[in-house]
Subunit: 458 residues, 2 copies
């Protein structure tokens, strides 16, 4: 029997899920698997870093789902600290750099998985490489930040960026006893929400003692004579800082793919078909933070870097590479987060997303609670719902509130996937008992108001 | 303009929601609304009684959504403590008994809403009317029980029944410092779950110090010389009791409807069409705990007494009575509950429900957590999923677990409504962040295992 070789570039969620799933389907007598990872860790939870830095997760290793050794025990030849420097598509091979000798080696493949992930946005600001300026993308980043937080006498932290990473890091730094200032380019924090919902996040952050500066364009990071950070400058102010955390989001890491001539989308992510095969390439798959995915609501490709998608991509790729079958139909854009006890969730389209694809819509905003109003700690939340005009089709939901708010967005995520109208949603049979919901679940209250808005707009 | 008269029988969730919604659509110059309620309270939350008895809800009035006075301010002529004793369908009138004089009056109607609710199951056991034996259906019941709990020196409580009411009352009595024994006729507590999932509830109740006796058939309630309860007898044992709570479920209260010749189903509930109009009667609607509803998964009528459905029925009836339009398409059988910190949820069909309608199915049972495994208090839960053989269509989900478990069932409720297969569910874009979910949400883990089970059974 011929042994095929599968090469995987990237040893994190998508790549190693693909490798593991392929290995379940095909043994080493049928499929050799070689995986390259340029970093020190495999299969770790980057999403968990804020909670490790914040102290809820006591140690780094808790964030590692599977060590290199564990992968190797499953007959996956995982080569750590080994960077792939070129993909030769015509030759069916990849070139990698040996971490010890620095020498380069070509490795042929029958099938290739590109899972190169994303890189943090890091604008070329003066001072961005100064001591005391930290990214939070890798476990090494997290360790360096934790060490700095302990070593620093000062207690002023500036977070640049107010998206998921920014607000989660603001919470972590608050937990560590820092005075936290968040510098936000946008109109309100959490640009993944509409500004009216982002304003609720802003207000809550104020209440927590986190200073949020909206419309802040960072121009430089100021250092002292030793080259250590001392402040962050915007056009019109300087914010003193003993430590700076960069949370400006990530971009697909697709330099290799671009050089190899693989197809990229408008966000710079690899383009695949529904089986996660790179378009136009029969034996190359791609998944995780380096690809663009179909948004099922807008019909457009988007870049949605999230561990949960990366794991699903890996499963699908592994099934297909291993001789099975799987597809990843797309996303509806669900995301949840929190800053201290404020929960933040979204799915589907924001107002500007709907407008950008020519959809006309109505909105409904309601306040309700996560439990019956008479039950202790009812958990106030605001739910915003977008529905298409005329058809009444659900387009998106955003939720900001207290305990029990965020995961309610899943109901809307399923309804979006099923193409439900807000009228249909009003009849959904959602779980009711006083400790879990008011007699009308907040999502149903929003749907009822959205129905009225659809009718009023007709 | 002719003023029509709407008569509503029953002043609780379904009846008063219908009246209120009709009033929103039509003013008193178009529609006169007369409502009859035989009890002392209108529009109260019976589901909240266990939490009032248990002490989480400090006072009775918190459970009253709208008082009779508030309804009257909205031009609804709500007549309290006034029992309807006959419906004369041919004559278009109802007979009621005046609470002061005992005299009877006929009131004509153009449109009638029957919302007579449900009555607790109360078998004719010797001693069932003894002092110290309590139902928990009305606010008066709750007050009587609370008074008894304070007045009783003894600290032994027996709950008869291990459904929602039974386990919620067990928690309430435990909170009040009682030693609690639950006598359960069935194989395991929570007969709304499959026995393997009910066993998890049993184990958790053991851990809380609640004694559960399965297969217990109560034969008598023993009293002392003063006529006060002293024990509950089953075929083979006696359980000492200072207080007894009846939690054996409810049946549709449809004696009036039966006498009037209105159509009843196999569970004794009124049968309606999708607009909640009583079948064969153009000007009579019915809703709430006195009707049977369509189960969208099995295609059969069921009796599902739940406040959330009653409210929806009321909205639909009110819209139709008021000249608008609404339908209640049916239920998928979602219910959530808890006993102390154990959460219990179900939706769709149990194994025996599926078998009863001739569906062949596979099952998948998984254990997972409500948060990332490395996050504090991850909240262990067990998820059971049923899928149809061959088609892979989702048939039902049951969840038993810790914080964050119960409301996950809503995802399955929406998927059932949409007719999704378990394969489709594996791609659902559910919210992920470490404080809210593992990277694979427990529902997705169950769906993946169910997919494998469907394939293995083919």
């Amino acid at each position: 029997m011929t042994v095929e070789r599968l090469v995987v570039i990237g040893g994190d969620a998508a790549g190693m899920s693909a490798a593991s799933q392929a290995r379940r389907l095909k043994g080493p007598d049928e499929l050799e698997i070689v995986a390259f990872e340029r970093g020190h860790f495999s299969s770790f939870s980057a999403c968990g870093i804020p909670y490790w830095v914040g102290g809820q997760v006591p140690e780094r290793d808790a964030l590692i789902a599977r060590t290199p050794g564990e992968h190797r025990e499953r007959a996956i030849d995982l080569r750590m600290r080994t960077e792939v420097t070129e993909i030769d598509v015509a030759g069916g091979r990849v070139r990698s750099r040996d971490p010890e000798t620095g020498g380069e080696t070509w490795t042929g493949y029958d099938k290739l998985v590109v899972a190169t992930g994303a890189r943090p946005v890091r604008p070329p600001l003066p001072g961005i490489d100064a001591a005391g300026v930290h990214g939070v993308q890798t476990l090494d980043d997290g360790q360096a930040l934790l060490t700095a937080l302990t070593a620093t006498a000062g207690r002023r932290a500036v977070v640049i960026g107010a998206g998921y990473i920014g607000v989660e890091m603001a919470e972590a730094l608050l937990n560590r006893g820092f005075e936290v200032t968040v510098l936000n380019r946008g109109e309100q924090p959490m640009a993944t929400l509409d500004p009216d919902m982002g304003r609720l996040v802003h207000t809550a952050m104020d209440g927590l003692g986190i200073t949020t500066v909206n419309g802040a364009r960072v121009t430089a990071i100021r250092t002292d004579a030793d080259g250590r950070v001392r402040a962050v400058a915007t056009g019109d102010a300087e914010y003193p800082a003993d430590v700076v955390v960069l949370g400006m989001g990530v971009e697909p890491e697709t330099a290799l793919a671009r050089e190899a001539g693989l197809p990229l989308g408008v966000y710079g992510g690899l383009l695949t078909d529904l089986s996660m095969r790179v378009r136009g390439h029969g034996n190359i798959w791609a998944g995780g933070d380096c690809v663009e995915v179909l948004d099922l609501v807008s019909g457009r490709e988007r870049h949605v870097p999230l561990g949960t998608h990366a794991n699903k991509h890996g499963q699908v790729i592994g099934a297909n590479v291993g001789g099975g079958y799987g597809t990843f139909p797309g996303v509806v854009g669900t995301a949840v987060s929190k800053v201290c006890d404020l929960e933040i969730a979204r799915t589907g389209l924001r107002e500007k997303d709907a407008a950008a694809v020519g959809l006309r819509y109505v909105t409904a905003v309601i306040e309700s609670t996560s439990r019956a109003g008479y039950y202790p700690e009812p958990g106030v939340m605001t739910v915003k719902m977008l529905a298409e005009r005329r058809s009444g089709r659900l387009l998106g939901v955003q939720i900001v509130g207290r305990e029990g708010a965020a995961k309610r967005v899943d109901v809307a995520a399923v309804a979006l996937t099923a193409g439900m109208t807000v009228e249909q949603m009003t009849a959904l049979d959602l779980g009711y008992a006083p400790p879990f919901s008011p007699v009308w679940d907040p999502v149903l209250v929003a749907a009822r108001k959205a129905v009225a808005a659809v009718r009023a707009a007709d």
